[in-house]
Amino acid sequence: MKELSLHILDIAQNSVRANASKIIINISENIKKNIFQFSIKDNGSGIESDIFKNIKNPFTTTRTTRKVGLGIPFLNDTCRLCNGNLLIETEIGKGTYLEATMEYNNIDRPPLGNIVSTVVGLVISNEKIHFVYIHKYNEKTFEFDVNTIKEILDGIPLTDFKVIEWLENYLTENVIQLKIK
């Protein structure tokens, strides 16, 4: 995929399909240590062992419409290409943790891309899920918890046009702020 945010979207959608009620997306850009890392943690159903043992193989999938699943194999490939690795831990009934690590300055590392659209898209299309988005840039951290927003909104749906617009601006501004010294 051209952008890492598309990988994040793809993996988070796995969590949605696993009936997670809470999904934590954590992005860490550590330029000093030359590490780009993101993780997605959910409290979904977990991955069964016969699927899990071959999870990085493209011919492993839970899809019933076709026999090939490429989300994790593509991401695994990207990590390896960028001298990093992909770690996945899962427990049935407890959830799944996925952590992708890459060299920050690797020439083959795709850009993060539009992470704001990814997060907003996930949040508004899954209103019942408790999303937390944490973005670190060197020592600075921005944390967004959708439940805090829901409390303030007091019943106004997240899909309200003005809410979406506000979310996009709020996240964009904070992500930009992270990178300003």
């Binding site: 995929m1 051209k2 598309l6 193989n57 493209p58 011919f59 076709r66 026999k67 090939v68 490429l70 194999p73 593509f74 490939d77």
Partner: protein, 110 residues
């Protein structure tokens, strides 16, 4: 054109899908980013790429292309060849560059 004629004309080395029926080649897709190829390739295209990982077979099996040419002297992984045989995907290797292969395909009117 069918794929075995193409194989002879381009002097490729076939490494996977040896026992398969002869397929027709119509058009070509060039690309190393698998997700993009997945979205853009058409049936019966020949796919020219430097990628040699088993993921190329997964992509090829989804889009029903006629074959894959791995260029620039890259070698298909063992797992790639195994899966190519299982999934009926013809895989070739060439020492030529992607550009050279593409030029020859143009000459052959593909």
């Amino acid at each position: 054109m069918n794929i075995s004629t193409l194989n002879d004309l381009l002097d490729l080395k076939q490494v996977g899908g040896n026992k398969l029926e002869n397929r027709i080649v119509e058009g070509c897709i060039v690309g190393d980013l698998l997700s993009v190829v997945m979205g853009k390739a058409k049936n019966n295209n020949i796919w020219v790429t430097i990628q040699s990982h088993v993921n190329i077979i997964a992509v090829a099996s989804l889009i029903d292309i006629s074959g894959i040419i791995i260029t620039e002297g890259f070698k298909a992984d063992v797992e790639t060849i195994e899966k190519a045989n299982e999934e009926n995907i013809k895989v070739f290797e060439s020492n030529l560059s992607t550009y050279e292969i593409a030029k020859q395909l143009v000459k052959l009117d593909i």
